[in-house]
Subunit: 581 residues, 2 copies
């Protein structure tokens, strides 16, 4: 018989849907109990969804959160689950608003909490200490930090109990603070509630951190993460239980809901004094023998597959959680729209994807054929809408030429997509990649029109890699590769004038993506990049394009952040500025 | 002879334009010296502009700021200004990046500083203690706080010196912290560097605060603010010097650059011990008699005029600082576009304003006449572009009706404005008001298309008030009232179908604006608003419209924040959510 059986609920909440989120918790509690668990642990803010942003400053939102949490203990008893220890993440408040500065808006009136429920009551509460306020996070804006560590002494049948510390997400990442006190408190198990979004290669940072903390604090660490898309974030789950020597005792698969049940044998509680700022509360493990448990250790797929899955889930959840059932996008035969169509089909099923080819007089025969081919491979709804007769009245009446005439074509296409969306209720996808977005190589209100941008955080070179991976993946599974080989291999072109290619205007994409990685992701200055050995004129040209496109990016659709530095709230720069260095 | 003569430089910096901003400081130093001043004080971050947002995380930006500040003492000596005490606001860094969480981006590597220069050297530095992280401010994201108060002992000719404390902006607003130590340190004068944006009625909060602090700390308070538009913020200046009994010793006019020179007679320095965490540095006042000085006390105009001036400056600086010279906008004959045209003409001169009337078959004769009338009253460039022949090919080819056909008209108008912008280089203005933006009563990529939205933070009822004020103001000055009376008095209509008015779809604007004030500005919940006595169905209808329009607002143009709660970074809500309460 294990000392403790833990159930980690890797669930997909919807922000503000307290009823739906509570149902998920109750369902997980049933499954946990039926599988012999002593304790169920949810992700951070599983009751409310995450991030709640300034909803934390709406007293009515916090009242609803409090009602949901306050009703849960009795509900669990009514469901026959009163003996299960249930630890749920949720916001709490409202507290007296801190009225700061001249703002007439209350701010920081909530806390980010974990509540421990057993026997029909809330037995204890932990408040997150470390509030992330960098990258996409604004928790110092909306939360008041806690300063008391919580330790649960979980006893069974009079045997020596286990001391279990509870912390929340950022608390695990920071040295000092509650993590340091876990060791002082001599806990044997550390439970961590998380809402940690996916980023490429983050698993290479997160798992080593969990392992390091297990070693440092001499505990087993149980790390549970939420899963799902929420606006521009995709939570990947990847919940894990790790022993102090780095052994993975259990690991949930990424990007799906999962109840991870794991037996652990932490050291029993000692007789040491309780350090300052630690609260200890006793709860009870179940008395029956839970029986044998099969090991549940998922193996992560390779990086490309993880990224693809993140993009698929980000799109699926945006569509589903916002009440759409189908999407529409323009199919140019190029690589970006082809990859977006394949992501959409994987997310929603091809029967919910509508593609329109919108050829002009400058579209090559090949583009049209490639779009046809893609539509057939994927099996999506496909139609063709030639734009010549819509463009020419405007071009003639307004006497347009040059860039104005090129942009007009893109804007007529935007009008067609939005009109079909208005008529049929599809969500419009805009198919620009991160490289395009960086240098402003798109027409605002034209090809940038749409409610969601599936690949906005994927640089062009990586779009090609993903296309190749997806085709290989299909072939390996005996399926039709979705993306026409020609769309991958041909030179990219916006086809807004005769014989145009992207490289008429932009440096080669290999070089361009390298400069952007340095300037945008690493925040290097122009001179720093030139010092890396890249041609000065090219660096200055590219950096200037990036700076001058800020206003366009501000008006762009959201899309899933999959890198360490996405455009949007991850990178907050003025539009009006004179660049330095 | 006064004990001290202060010069407050209320200047308009450009973010990142270190050379230009330094020239403004040197010019102010010359004028200050020539007018007999002992000390020149700039606004917060006058060297870099404000807010710098994540530029604070770019080491190259911080290196450029440091170079600019480091070169200033020698420059002042070279200009014959070495004896003037000059206190400038600037960022400093880079410090070792705090690498937090999994973010691969450095964060919080700078400080928000005031440096004291005399005799060719930086004599002392103060670092801002309180970092605002609410409303539009994200300073906890980018700055590390200071914890040492600075007191300058300014001596003259061997006479008893004056102890002068220096703090920065938010430090003044918070109880405790450096303000509390000013009293302990027995300072006679408190200098405050500020970058405090305009909000309606903020002068009713700010001046009482300055006065209260003067009383509490038993000092004269000299408060200098920057001026000018920076993206969505408009800094109003309104720099002021206040005595402990509330007497205004000097006050700069709002919304213009100004050097405010004021004589003050603070109590001489005592012999008390220096409290902990206070640094005292000696500097020298000039020895010559500066002569008489006329009082300089501006009187603030009434609220409507202040608001108008804020909107004018916000637009002018966005245009000017981003390298545009002219603007273009659609003129419907309605109140919103008329007010925007009048603001643009006041900001840029009518010769730089281009208006296009774009009538459809649903446009009333009155609309066309009102637009003609407006154009003539203002004297702007005016043309007419009928849209029927551009709309009908699309409508026919795509078989559109209902909302899709209505939106199409707005989108064709957007295409016309963007095409003219592409051809002629005008900045496109989008003329939606705050009420429209709140409920999503606009066509995305249609009438919402544009780079700047002059009245996006002005509710509809206030748009009418402003129009009336502007006309009365013109009449009082013997000028032609710019806005046709008919545009003010007729029922508002989008004219996208026959006999349409806004009130077919929306509640009366008086009621709508009241609900929005409660829901958006005061963050009340639905039930809270119903409890105020407003009809349940109307409240739920309006709140639902607000929630469902979040995705549109995210893609909207920026425009000047003039209220305590503007859409944009002042109100950060998820798109994907289920509303509660």
């Amino acid at each position: 018989m294990p000392r403790l059986r833990l159930a980690l609920s890797q669930a997909n909440p919807l922000v503000g849907d307290f009823d739906g989120n509570i149902e998920k918790i109750v369902a997980a509690a049933h499954e946990a109990w039926n599988r012999g668990s002593d304790l169920l642990l949810t992700g951070e803010m599983a009751v409310s969804g995450y991030p709640i942003e300034d909803l934390a400053a709406q007293p009515s939102f916090l009242r609803a959160a409090r009602s949901a949490v306050d009703a849960l203990p009795a509900r669990l008893v009514a469901e026959g689950l009163g003996d299960l220890v249930v630890i749920v993440g949720h916001p709490d408040g409202p507290f007296e608003p801190r009225l700061l500065g001249t703002s007439n808006a209350p701010t920081a009136i909530a806390q980010n909490c974990a509540s421990v429920i057993q026997g029909g009551a809330i037995r204890a509460r932990y408040v997150k200490h470390h509030l992330p306020n960098y990258s996409v996070f604004d928790e110092y804006r909306i939360f008041v930090p806690g300063d008391e560590l919580l330790v649960l002494r979980i006893g069974r049948n009079g045997a020596a109990g286990v001391d279990v510390a509870v912390i929340i997400c950022e608390d695990l990442w920071r040295d000092g603070g509650p993590v340091a006190r876990v060791l002082d408190a001599d806990a044997g198990l550390l439970l961590v509630l998380n809402a940690s979004p996916y980023e490429r290669d983050k698993d290479e940072v997160r798992l080593p951190l969990v392992t390091r903390r297990a070693t440092e604090t001499d505990t087993i660490v149980a790390y549970v993460n939420i899963v799902g898309g929420q606006d521009d974030l995709v939570f990947d789950g990847d919940s894990v239980v790790v022993d102090g020597d780095g052994t993975i005792l259990g690991r949930a698969p990424q990007f799906v809901e999962h109840l991870l049940v794991v037996d652990v044998d932490p050291a029993p509680a000692g007789n040491g004094d309780l350090p300052a700022n630690v609260t200890r509360v006793a709860v009870t493990a179940r008395s029956d023998d839970p029986g044998q448990l099969a090991k549940d250790v998922a193996v992560l797929p390779d990086d490309r597959e993880q990224l693809w899955n993140a993009l698929v889930l980000g799109l699926r959840d945006y569509v589903r959680k916002n009440g759409f059932r189908s999407v529409i996008l323009g199919l140019s035969g190029g690589i970006d729209s082809s990859v977006c169509a394949a992501i959409a089909a994987d997310a929603l099923g091809a029967e919910n994807v509508y593609g329109i080819s919108m050829p002009s007089q400058w579209s090559s025969e090949g583009s049209r054929t490639d779009a046809d081919d893609l539509a057939e491979r994927i099996g999506l709804h496909y139609s063709v809408e030639a734009i010549a007769d819509l463009v020419s009245p405007v071009e003639t009446q307004l006497k347009l030429d040059g860039v104005a005439a090129e942009n007009l074509q893109a804007r007529i296409r935007g009008i067609i997509l939005m009109a079909r969306s208005n008529m049929d209720g599809h969500l419009v996808l805009t198919t620009g990649n991160k490289t395009e977005l960086a240098v402003g190589y798109s027409t605002i209100y034209g090809d940038s029109a749409g409610g969601f941008a599936p690949i906005k955080d994927v640089p062009k070179m990586l779009v090609w890699e993903l296309a190749t991976w997806r085709n290989e993946h299909a072939a390996a599974n005996g399926e039709t590769p979705p993306i026409p080989e020609n769309s991958i291999t041909k030179p990219p072109s916006a086809e807004l004038r005769p014989d145009q290619t992207d490289q008429d205007t932009l440096p080669p994409y290999e070089l361009l993506d390298d400069i952007l990685e340095a300037y945008v992701s690493k925040r290097l200055g122009r001179e720093d990049i030139i010092a890396l050995g890249i041609d000065r004129a090219t660096v200055e040209f590219v950096c200037k394009l990036v700076d001058r496109s800020e206003w366009k990016r501000r008006q762009g659709a959201i899309g899933p952040k999959v890198s360490g530095m996405a455009f949007g709230r991850d990178r907050r720069l003025p539009i009006t500025s004179r660049p330095a260095g």
